[in-house]
Amino acid sequence: MDFRLTEEQEIIRQSVREFAAKYIDPIANECDENKHFPMEVFKKIAEQEWMGIPYPQEYGGAGSDYLTYVIVIEELSRADAGIGFTVECHTSLAAFPIFKYGTEEQKQKYLVPLCKGEKFGSFCLTEPGAGTDAGSAQTTAVLDGNEWVLNGSKMFISNSPIAEIFIVFAMTDKSKGTKGMSAFIVPREAPGLRVGEHLNKMGIRSSLTAEVIFKDCRIPKENLLGQEGQGFKIAMHTLDGGRIGIAAQALGIAQAALDESIKYSKERVQFGKPIASFQAIQWMIADMATDIQAARFLTYHAAWCYDQGLPYNKEAAMAKLFAAECAARHTNRAVQIHGGYGYIKGHKVERLYRDAKITEIYEGTSEVQRMVIANNLLR
């Protein structure tokens, strides 16, 4: 057993930290305050080749592995969880299904620009009436000659306001239930595709989320991804990997909360001593650090399973469940340690506290993760 990262992974972690200090830290508060999407930062992220890390170089990716990708998401999220998430959603949810299920032609046409960071990708599964119960989706796709015609609407779609490539799940045969769902690649310019207004979220406000509406939206027949009826399986397989990414995002948020808490508790003086000298604070810090280390090992292990070609569905669910709850719990404690200052806008822990919550919700709520884990154990 070897817990050491490779030299390359260490260097990449340092380079993301350097990048974050230079380009993200100075703007993170402003992005949060004004729900601003920092396009200029993503141009630079693309130059760093961080938009398609785990995919082969022949498809425009960096040809690295999932563990390296997870480290990048962790470090980006440590500076700004919205930026980390945008890269995660793009890589794990939009690029992955094309990489795994796409034809060679689809990969050349859609995966390459995604991995190079020339275009953003988006993943459209959730609907106003179908969240955790994704199988009850109402969006339909009907073959009309050489074209699929999509109708319906998708809710809370991350990256959609800037995305140019949408992975869309729609029912091709409602009578078959989840087996009647299919996946499609929909380009931005497809007629009948409309993206709603950028939603005003509680956290990860530097990322973009909106409704996506399909009204007689027509795409070529060959834009079916995988086989007809394979959609639900593709969605679930994609989310398995996405969960490792969200675990990494949660990990970054939790680590940032710990960093801030350590710094603050050493500087803040009460009763004539830094508050770090009080046992109440020390225990909080010790618990935070221990949980974060555990979350890190779960997350890295899940990524390692992915890289080794081992099953990772349960591992990903465990990592996401634990890391997300760890982030939510410890950003709460970080605010507690900061007292009144932590409740004021502009303090990083206040932002972290809001950012953490979503990690317990998206790409499968904590309840869904428990279901997945239990199914693995009890079936």
Binding site: E7, E8, I11, Q14, S15, W50, A62
Partner: protein
């Protein structure tokens, strides 16, 4: 076609240094290491010159075997080859030794038109290795350089001095030490990091050196810097501010 050598040092990241209590002793047990800050500017400048003028960049470092970690980091920043001179005894070299070892290694193993060093290292900041190396090699040098221009076999360098800018020219081969203001080092891209492992590294040890390089300096102590200050805090209330002004008067620093 310019043959460039860039020298760099693998140093303790000073941000990780902890101080153990009142003894002022430094706790280095959990420090991380990095390429010395200004040496990154040196590497960047070497790579930029190579991009402009063609040629080659070789990165050279001297240090203990653990400094091996630095090689991929340095190579990911653009040089095409590294030379690593290591020995367990090289963990606390002083500048005279480093410069002498570099001089022997460079003379025996490498061709060059230009050698670039950082103005000083971010750990010891002795600012000596560059000029000492030039002296040992018998080549002209310019220290504290903010801008480099190369024309044919001539180097023009802008040196930032206390009293202004001094522009100097000299024939190649030459050595320069660069200031952090000379450029902004790029952050290596992912493929550059992954590609570093494929680049050649020449490993040399103390056994490969003819010279015995004894230290000329002895460190007798290394302690945390302290400042004795009164550390009295006041509010912004006018009465408090008056107390501060009274204190300044009493100290005799305003009149």
């Amino acid at each position: 076609m310019l043959k460039i050598i860039v020298c760099f040092k693998w140093v303790i990241d000073e941000a990780d240094i902890k101080v153990s209590g009142k003894s002022r002793e430094l706790d280095l047990s959990r420090v991380a290491y990095k390429i010395s800050d200004y040496d990154r500017n040196a590497i960047e400048e070497a790579v930029r010159l190579q991009e402009q003028l063609g040629g080659s960049v070789v990165a050279v470092t001297v240090g203990p075997p653990t400094a091996k970690q630095s090689l991929k980091d340095a190579l990911s920043r653009g040089p095409e080859k590294a030379v690593f001179v290591s020995d367990p005894a090289f963990d606390s070299l002083e500048p005279a030794q480093t410069a002498a070892i570099l001089a022997e290694v460079i003379t025996k193993n490498l061709e060059y038109d230009l050698i670039i060093c950082g103005e000083g290292s971010s750990d010891l900041y002795a600012q000596q290795v560059g000029p000492r190396l030039a002296e040992k090699l018998g080549i002209p040098c310019a220290t504290y350089v903010e801008k480099i221009i190369i024309k044919d076999k001539e180097l023009i360098a802008e040196r930032k001095m206390r009293d202004g800018i001094e522009v100097v020219s000299m024939p190649l081969p030459a050595l320069v030490t660069v200031m952090p203001t000379i450029n902004t080092p790029r952050i290596p891209s992912l493929k550059q990091v992954l590609g570093a492992a494929k680049k050649p590294v020449v490993n040399l040890s103390a056994k490969d050196l003819e010279g015995k390089y004894e230290p000329c300096l002895k460190t007798t102590s290394l302690l945390a810097a302290t400042m004795e200050r009164k550390r009295i805090k006041f509010t912004d209330d006018p009465q408090d501010i008056r107390k501060v002004v009274d204190a300044l008067l009493k100290e005799g620093v305003i009149s």
